[in-house]
């Protein structure tokens, strides 16, 4: 029994120490960035990533360091990764916009239907974890209100409790569903950034097929399908085609 306790304590301590060393490495990267040694900062941040941990801030800082050392495609990739974790961060959006203004391709976005725009805005309003917390909190509130409805006698209190509990239930369920979709999107990695300076997009997964158009490094593409080493992509203006998977890196 005592041994197990000691083991547990040791495990906890080592976990804590690991966390500290990662944070320390990140601080080291920040320091290098401050001093203008961007390649060193990149190395530090990558070191942290290699340990299998991540955060939106880490991706953001890494994106900044890449941007400063003129590696725009990597900067965009990391900004996109950061944005995926923290869709509501203004700084990430700003820097992503600046980085996107430096790439060769200017891809006009297809105007979306207002409902879709709203949906996207709603989808990006909160991060996954915030949605999870919201879902739990509104569910708890729902239960509390149901209790009030059940156990409190004045009629008007019970009326209020009933309707508000119903709306909280709705909130909880919808945030749960959104979170589920988001979670799926995060894990599936359905988007990618082009890393080869210029890629010819083909009409079919075959070298001999017709050349459709050319995308340049830094362009963001949607991944639709995969056949062997080929990937079907869609760019922001709606054009679709096939490129080699090695030309891209998934967000």
């Amino acid at each position: 029994m005592k041994n197990i306790l000691i083991l547990c304590a040791f495990l906890l301590l080592s976990l804590k120490l690991m966390a500290i060393s990662d944070a320390g490495m990140m601080l080291k990267g920040n320091k290098a960035y401050k001093e203008g040694m961007f390649s060193q900062a990149i190395a530090c941040y990558q070191e942290v990533l290699k340990k299998g941990v991540a955060s939106a801030e880490l991706y953001y800082n890494l994106g900044n360091a890449c941007f400063k050392s003129n590696d725009i495609p990597s900067a965009i990739l990391y900004y996109e990764k950061a944005k995926k974790l923290h869709p509501d961060n203004e700084n990430i959006d700003f820097n992503l916009k600046v980085a996107n203004s430096k790439i060769a391709d200017k891809i006009e976005q297809v105007p979306q239907l207002f409902i879709k725009r709203w949906w996207t805005a709603l989808f990006n309003l909160l991060s996954l974890d915030s949605l999870a917390v919201l879902s739990i909190a509104s569910f708890v509130l729902f239960l509390v209100l149901v209790s009030i409805f059940l156990f409190v006698s004045p009629l008007w209190v019970r009326k209020i409790a009933f309707w508000s509990s119903a709306s909280f239930l709705l909130l909880s369920v919808s945030s749960f569903l959104i979170a589920q979709r988001k979670h799926h999107a995060l894990i599936a990695q359905k988007e990618a950034i082009v890393f080869t300076p210029a890629v010819t997009v083909k009409s079919s997964p075959d070298e001999n097929s017709v050349d459709l158009f050319v995308v340049h490094e830094g362009a963001k593409v949607m991944l639709l399908d995969t056949i062997g080493t080929w990937q079907e992509i869609r760019i922001g203006n709606g054009s679709e085609g096939w490129i080699k998977a090695v030309d891209t890196r998934r967000i």
Partner: protein, 613 residues
């Protein structure tokens, strides 16, 4: 423009055709020719001959020939008579392809004997194509025997191993031992990899001096001098310079006796026996290879922009106190020797509120035979637009000092400028309301990195979907169901007790009343009343699930009222309770009163029971 150099050089040529003669048949040609160049191939025989058969000439264009010319002379020396005659056969050829070619021997029959000449070899190099047939018209028919050693051009670098940016000079020297006139420079090298500047002005006289090479006396003229500044390191090659000269081949012929009518050749037009031949020749200098060393990377200042030499840096400001909208002049003068033309404007950051213009560059650069020197001045005109105190940060200039072999960084002082409010005609305060300026964006950059604590979590590991998430979701639900269940149970239990009490209330009350009846005697009136009041209160307590401590006439009244019991009956009940209290102490026949109260109590309970049903 044509310039003529005249060198008075006398050549005494001994014509080796004297004394005991041996028959010679020789072919001669200039050993190196350029493609496109016209040259002469001559076979000469110092005797009489016939049936000249020329060589099979391939790879060359035969423009003319064979043309025969003959000369003969008779000389008296110390009483001896010497007679000589020469026959020469010449071809005018044009070279086509570069390469080395050998022409087979020519043959001739002399005194019935066949003689063979030597075979000649000609090396053809790639030419500039300058020697067009038009040029050759000027060229008098010449002997073509101007040797390589008579006139040549040499390029001499002052330093063939300079640092990048270091000034070197290349001098082109014309060596000659003949009178020569230069008709012009045909081809100036491109000086690839260098920044070049001519040092000799056209009007300047060429420096001339004598020089001995291998015992041969030459007159040397510096025809061109160039200052070169290497722009990159590594091996750089300077192409040859090409000039065309006309040399005067002067032959002092022997005064011949008058008895020989063919004493001179056809073109000899000189008086008193000397002959001058104008020979045109294209001269090419040697190509120079310059090995440029890179500047040391050690201690290189960040603002170094390639200035190499020795310089001084003089900053100047015309005033430091002025009014808004007045102009201010800043001048930075760099004086010295080196690649002044390549010095770029110093990086000055003026306060953003200053209106500044590109600097005026005033050059005072002179190139003399010793190199390029002088000064370059950058004059900045700035106009402060608003009042205030401003600083202009120190301006620095860095160069590599050749003499000291180090980088030198010179700096101007920091200037503080006090700008007072401008003229009242253009007061700033009036402007503010009407003429607002937009905010000027000076640059565009990404935002700074996130500093501060960061919550690192495992990649691909999210709170959503984790066990904790579902636990937190299910736990309240579980808790809620437990609470609800317990509550419900409690409610059930409580309602059960009340029901039982309610059901048994009448039963208990009647049993109590029955007990009271046994004590209807006066002696036991205390117990009787006690039982009666217990029966009544107890009944109420059981019926309405009230605790004993809560019992009072008011609470009973209320409880009954709630059950919609007739008001009359309620009053009756409270009356009975009062009677019961009073009767204990009331005088009179106790037994009848007790009897009466007993009936009353029994009556009221029955009534309430009836009412509640």
């Amino acid at each position: 423009m044509k310039k003529y150099l005249i060198f008075g050089i006398l050549i005494i040529s001994f014509i080796g055709r004297l004394a005991a003669q041996e028959v010679q048949f020789t072919g001669s040609v200039s050993s190196v020719v350029e493609t496109g160049e016209q040259f002469r191939l001559t076979y000469s025989l110092n005797s009489n001959g016939s049936n000249f058969i020329g060589p099979a000439i391939q790879n060359f264009l035969v423009l003319a020939g064979p043309s025969q010319s003959s000369s003969s002379s008779v000389q008296y020396i110390n009483g001896r008579v010497m007679q000589s005659s020469t026959i020469s056969f010449s071809f005018i050829l044009q070279a086509v392809q570069p390469g080395t070619y050998t022409l087979p021997p020519a043959s001739i029959i002399v005194n019935g004997k066949k003689m063979q000449s030597n075979s000649v070899s000609i090396k053809v190099v790639k030419g500039s194509g300058n020697s067009s047939p038009g040029n050759s018209k000027n060229m008098p028919a010449a002997g073509g025997n101007l040797s390589e050693n008579d006139v040549f051009l040499k390029a001499v670098p002052s330093n063939s191993n300079p640092l990048q940016g270091e000034q070197i000079t290349v001098t082109y020297k014309l060596y000659t031992c003949l009178p020569v006139s230069m008709s012009g420079i045909d081809k100036i090298p491109s000086y690839q990899g260098f920044w070049s500047q001519d040092l000799l002005k056209e009007k300047d006289k060429f420096a001339q001096y004598n020089e001995d090479i291998n015992g041969q006396k030459y007159i040397v003229a510096e025809i061109r001098k160039v200052a070169l500044f290497p722009q990159k390191n590594g091996k750089l090659v300077i192409d040859p310079l090409q000039v065309t000269i006309v040399a005067q081949l002067q032959k002092k012929a022997k005064r011949n006796s008058f008895n020989d009518p063919l004493f001179d050749n056809l073109f000899d037009d000189s008086f008193f026996g000397s002959s001058v031949q104008n020979v045109q020749k294209i001269l090419r200098s040697n190509a120079i290879s310059i090995d440029v060393k890179p500047l040391p990377a050690l201690n290189r200042p960040a603002d170094f922009s390639g200035a190499v030499g020795s310089f001084t840096f003089t900053p100047f400001i015309d005033r430091t106190t002025l009014k808004a909208n007045e102009a201010l002049t800043l001048r930075f003068t760099i004086t010295g020797k080196g690649n002044l033309n390549l010095i770029e404007k110093p990086a000055i950051i003026f306060p953003p509120d200053f209106e500044s213009y590109d600097p005026k560059i005033i050059d005072n650069i002179s190139s003399s035979a010793s190199g390029v020197s002088g000064s370059r001045t950058f004059e900045y005109l700035v106009i402060p637009r608003n009042a205030g105190e401003y600083t202009i940060k120190p301006v620095s200039f860095s160069y590599f000092d050749i003499g000291r072999n180090t980088y030198v960084r010179l700096q101007s002082p920091q200037y503080t400028i006090w700008v007072q409010r401008g003229e009242s005609t253009d007061p700033l305060s009036n402007n503010r309301g009407t003429d607002q300026e937009d905010i000027k964006y000076l640059g565009n950059d990404i935002r700074y990195i996130h500093i501060g604590p960061v919550q690192l979590s495992k990649q691909g590991d999210f709170f959503f979907g984790s066990t904790l998430f579902y636990l937190l979701l299910l736990l309240p639900a579980l808790l809620f169901s437990i609470i609800a269940l317990v509550w419900k149970n409690q409610m059930k239990k409580r309602s059960d007790i009340a029901f039982m009490r309610n059901k048994k209330a009448t039963q208990i009350a009647t049993s109590r009343l029955r007990k009271a009846k046994t004590h209807l005697t006066a002696a036991q009136q205390e117990i009787f009343y006690n039982e009666i009041s217990l029966a009544l209160w107890g009944y109420m307590s059981d019926k309405f699930n009230l605790r004993l401590s809560e019992l009072s006439t008011e609470s009973v009244h209320e409880a009954l009222h709630q059950k919609h019991v007739n008001e009359e009956i309620i009053d009756q009940f409270t009356e009975t309770l009062h009677h019961c209290e009073y009767a204990r102490f009331a005088p009179g026949d106790k037994s009848t009163i007790m009897e009466q109260i007993y009936n009353e109590a029994l009556n009221i309970i029955t009534k309430i029971e009836h009412e509640l049903k």
